[in-house]
């Protein structure tokens, strides 16, 4: 019973918050709403007995990603609204609703392959975090390592892209050199 109440509450809140994200004209509102939505999604993960993922969701998304966005926004003049000239709004609404209806129709239908075999069933008496660790360091070790490298690359590129050195246009370097020589 609690589960039902929790699901519907979380669902409504998430949809509402995400709706705010895509509709709001102010980037700060959007970002706050997104952060809230992420927390509620973590709530779904807890309901689905994926405690580790829920915690990761909160830490990574609401903590790290949102902080990153917040810092990123400091570069921009957020008070100055970006004037968005959106044309043919009807097309957008129609398409979005059509996709929603289709997806809902598809997933609410009976799932054909009922005899799905769990590839890595959760073991009795083993906690969720233990289980995730078990899989990550056995079956998905290589992927895990690759993801680590990817994050490293992303970090370096993120730092590099916003650094001052990037003001120097690589493609315009020759002209810059000339300017420097002239000075």
């Amino acid at each position: 019973m609690y589960e039902v109440i929790a699901f519907y509450t979380f669902s409504l809140l998430t949809i509402a918050l995400f709706g705010v994200v895509v509709i709001s004209k102010n980037a700060l509102y959007s970002m706050s709403a997104l952060a809230g939505g992420m927390i509620f999604i973590a709530g779904f993960f807890f309901m689905l007995e994926a405690e580790f993922l829920g915690v990761v969701q909160i830490i990574v998304y609401t903590g790290a990603v949102m902080a990153l966005y917040a810092f990123g926004m400091m570069f921009f003049d957020t008070t100055k609204e970006v004037r968005e000239r959106v044309h043919a709004q009807k097309v957008i609404y129609t398409l979005a609703i059509l996709v929603a209806v289709c997806v809902v129709f598809i997933v609410s239908g009976p799932i054909v392959g009922q005899k799905m075999q769990a590839l890595y069933p959760s073991i009795e008496g083993v906690g969720n975090i233990q289980m995730v660790g078990l899989l990550l360091f056995t079956k998905y070790l290589v992927v895990f390592e690759l993801a680590a490298i990817m994050l490293l690359v992303a970090m370096i590129s993120g730092i590099l892209l916003v650094s001052d050195r990037m003001n120097l246009d690589l493609t315009l370097k020759d002209e810059d050199d000339k300017e420097r020589e002239m000075i």
């Binding site: 398409l95 059509l98 996709v99 289709c102 598809i106 054909v112």
Partner: protein
């Protein structure tokens, strides 16, 4: 011996290819000499083969596999037997002489080298035709000679009439070849092979109706190639080509291919005497029909062309009535004297600056003695006077007709013999004797060069003596071909000979008597029959009005209405549709990320809708 076979076959091809390299160059005398020499070598090696082949030994080689698909296996095989060796010797002999003659005849032509390339290519195709050991090889040669004939008739392609005549010949032959192809398909359908020996061994097992169809279809092909009625119009028009071509292709060799086909397929025609009788009747009809047109024509070469038609009719009578060896014999002797006649006519043409109207000649004997003698010999041989070659072969054909109790055919041929004698000597008289009209018109005829005359003498000799080869010829080919049994009484045979000779002599005498004194008056030209004959029985006009014009109208209709308005329009519509669609959809590529994302979502939506519509029903 295979070596000689390959030399015979490929020497002309080699000559043709070498000459072809110089086709676009100005005249090079050695191309003519080289091709003549190679064809001469071909002739010599076929003489060797002639000595080799006898009752027990025939040469049968398989050069290589050509088509082998499923059950169909067609090798490139050649056979040298009694029939094909006779054809080979005749063809290569006449070809050699025509090649040498052409060196003189084409002396001043700017496409000298090209001419020899074509001529040798023709010889090669003709040899393929006669030497092949299967119907497909024969058909390839058949088409090959048709192609060479087209190239040579239209040799002076810048002349409208020449290219028209070439196309006429080619198209007429294609129509008839359709019949031949049907015959070949029928043979393959029923027997499953194209090899002569297999086909002839199995033909007895077939239903007689099927054999009749096969025979009829093959004969349609033969009709086209040999210019029998109703396909005869192309032969007279083919005289637009250079005269050596007329001598070689349209007198001695290619047009006799139809007769050769009947002889080669004698095992088929032997089973269907009714078809044979139809062939003979058609032959007799053409013999008289063509001879009648030759009576009044004023064009030197056309007269000889009609005479060729008429003689082909004689051959078909013999072949149709089952006297295959006689048909082959007449084919051979005819090749000699008819090519001689044509080549002589070529000399006259040259002397008269390509003037062909015999009314403008006359009295050329003074200036062209040798040619006059040669052509007279050929004409006597054609008329069939003892001891010239035509006597032996033609008389035999008349005897066959009489022996077959086909008195109507015999009578037609008998009349034809009289006509032949008349028009031959009408030609000789009007060209070489009588009043010297040409002097009045300002021509200065001159005799051809000596080597040309010398080249013609072997033909003249053979026109005289070939008849005496009759018995050895008979003994030679009878190993392969069915003999023809004469049941006539000896005295009847003699009477026939006397009658035929009499009508031939009277035809000659009438012609000599009449044209010695200036020929017929102008009154004869106003006669209805004269007009009918001069206009070739109005058959060309009939073809023009009944076939060409409606066909042209239908073609125009299809071009204007169907092709332009439906086919082209459809194709254009498709093109325009894509072009317009491209123009419209080009706007998608605006480079704007937002609109691209919209298109992406639209794509997702379409796929989702499709996934729902096309989902498997549970």
């Amino acid at each position: 011996m295979e070596k000689y076979l390959y030399i015979t076959l490929f020497a002309p091809l080699v000559g043709s290819l070498i000459a072809a390299f110089f086709a676009a160059k100005p005249k090079e005398l050695y191309t003519g000499i080289l091709t003549s020499a190679l064809v001469g070598i071909s002739f010599l090696s076929s003489i060797v083969l002639l000595n080799y082949v006898d009752a027990d030994t025939i040469l049968h080689v398989k050069m290589m596999d050509w088509i082998s698909v499923g059950n169909l296996s067609i090798p490139f095989g050649f056979v040298v037997d009694q029939v094909s060796i006779i054809m080979m010797v005749t063809v290569t002999f006449v070809s050699t002489i025509v090649h040498i003659y052409s060196i003189g005849y084409m002396e001043h032509d700017k496409s000298f080298n090209r001419f020899f390339s074509y001529l040798s290519a023709f010889v090669f195709s003709m040899l393929i035709l006669v030497m092949s050991d299967n119907f497909i090889g024969l058909f390839i040669g058949w088409e090959g000679v048709g192609l060479c004939s087209w190239m040579l008739i239209g040799f002076w392609y810048h002349k409208q009439s020449a290219s028209w005549a070439a196309n006429e010949a080619f198209i007429m032959n294609r129509i008839a070849d359709l019949g031949m192809l049907m015959g070949l398909f029928l043979i393959y359908w029923e027997i499953g092979s194209f090899q002569y020996d297999i086909v002839f061994a199995n033909i007895l097992n077939l239903n007689i109706n099927t054999v009749t169809w096969i025979g009829s279809f093959l004969f349609i092909g033969a009709m086209g190639k040999s210019a029998q009625f109703p396909f005869h119009t192309w032969l007279a028009d083919a005289m637009e080509g250079p005269t050596p071509v007329s001598a070689l292709i349209h007198a001695a060799t290619m047009v006799t291919a139809g007769v050769y086909l009947i002889i080669r397929a004698s095992d088929i025609y032997f089973l269907i005497p009714d078809v044979g009788y139809v062939i003979a009747s058609l032959g007799a009809f053409v013999a008289v029909f063509a001879a009648s047109m030759a009576l009044v024509n004023r064009d030197l070469k056309r007269i000889i062309a009609y005479s060729t038609l008429s003689q082909l009719g004689y051959m078909f009578v013999a072949a149709g009535l089952g006297a295959y060896w006689i048909a082959l014999f007449h084919l051979m002797t005819h090749a000699f004297f008819k090519s001689l006649l044509f080549l002589g006519a070529g000399n006259v043409m040259h002397a008269m600056n390509d003037e062909l109207d015999i009314k403008k000649m006359g009295g050329l004997y003074q200036s062209m003695r040798a040619t006059a003698i040669l052509m007279t010999i050929a004409s006597i041989a054609l008329a069939g006077i003892y001891p010239f070659a035509g006597f032996f072969s033609k008389d035999k054909i008349l005897e066959v007709a009489f022996n077959h109790e086909a008195y109507l055919l015999w009578f037609a041929l008998f009349i034809g013999a009289g006509m032949t004698a008349f028009y031959s000597f009408r030609l000789v008289m009007m060209v070489f004797f009588g009043e010297q009209v040409h002097k009045r018109l300002g021509f200065h005829p001159h005799e051809a060069r000596p080597f040309v005359i010398y080249a013609l003498t072997p033909l003249a000799l053979l026109s005289i003596v070939a008849g005496f080869l009759e018995y050895s010829f008979h003994a030679f080919v009878i190993d392969l071909l069915r003999d023809y049994k004469f049941t006539l009484d000896h005295s009847v045979g003699w009477m026939l000979i006397v009658a035929t000779t009499a009508i031939a002599l009277s035809g000659i005498a009438f012609a000599v008597y009449k044209y010695k004194r200036g020929g017929f008056g102008a009154g004869v030209e106003s006669l209805g029959i004269y007009k009918l004959l001069v206009n070739q029985y109005y058959i060309p006009q009939f073809y023009n009005n009944a076939i060409l014009k409606p066909f042209a109208a239908i073609s125009t209709f299809f071009w204007k209405q169907i092709d332009l308005k439906i086919v082209d329009a459809t194709v254009d519509l498709i093109g325009k549709m894509f072009y317009n669609a491209g123009g419209k959809t080009r706007q998608i590529q605006s480079g704007n990320l937002s609109s691209m994302l919209r298109w992406m979502v639209a794509g997702i939506a379409v796929m989702l809708v499709l996934a729902i519509i096309l989902r498997p029903m549970v």
